[in-house]
């Protein structure tokens, strides 16, 4: 039974790009080893933090959306805790509304600056 999850990770800003890519690749590999599938990944890059974490005022945000069996998440979080380059992480299980919202966002149907214009009848039906 594969569930949808979404993880946000904050890397330390002192890391070089290669180190960030290596870190990301490590988690991708871990995901594949446990029969998970990556749905989407977004790298927001360097971003200002609202409050300092571990003395640092910005961080590299990376978001991963994936499906995996239920047992995988605890293993993933153990790896997050072990990684010294990670400042924060948050894993969220997406319910059907969350999954639907992410799908619509990828299609450009979400937000004021919608890239796709939907008709009113279509909105009511969806």
């Amino acid at each position: 039974m594969n569930k949808h999850y979404e993880t946000v990770i904050i890397f330390s800003p002192l890391l070089a790009e290669d180190d960030v890519k290596k870190g990301i690749a490590k988690y991708h590999k871990l995901l594949q080893d446990h029969d998970g599938k990556l749905v989407e990944e977004r790298n927001w890059g360097l971003k200002q933090l609202a409050y300092p974490i571990e003395g640092k005022s910005n961080g590299i945000y990376y978001i991963m959306e994936f499906t995996a069996p239920g047992t995988f998440v605890s293993k993933l979080e153990v790896e997050f805790k072990r990684d010294e380059n990670l400042l924060r992480f948050l894993t969220v299980a997406l319910d059907k509304y969350g999954v639907d919202y992410n799908d619509r966002r990828r299609q450009g149907l979400v937000g004021k600056n919608k890239t796709v214009n939907t008709e009113k009848t279509e909105e009511v039906a969806s």
Partner: protein, 89 residues
């Protein structure tokens, strides 16, 4: 039966300012999921000190006020929103 109450008449009518009826914006728009990563939207539910606004001010229904609170707390954990702030808006 009850005795008819005398109508008290004033010289000038007291002005009744009609307040716009408050409603839950999520129920009206049919929004079912509140993304914790959208800080611009979540800022509407915070005051200038970064504190959560009460339901009687925002007009949300209980269900969605709780979802909003959960989303804001997640955003705070991820340092997308501050816990304490000054002149946030």
């Amino acid at each position: 039966m009850s005795t008819p109450r005398k109508e008290i008449k004033f010289m000038t009518q007291a002005k009744q300012i009609k307040r716009p009826k408050k409603y839950c914006r999520f129920k009206k728009a049919g929004i079912k999921y509140i993304d914790y990563k959208e800080t611009d939207f979540l800022m509407k539910f915070l005051n200038e000190q970064g504190k959560l606004l009460p339901r009687r001010i925002t007009g949300n229904s209980l269900k969605y006020q709780r979802k909003v609170a959960q989303a804001i707390k997640r955003a705070r954990h991820l340092s997308l929103l501050p816990y304490v702030a000054d002149l946030l808006k």
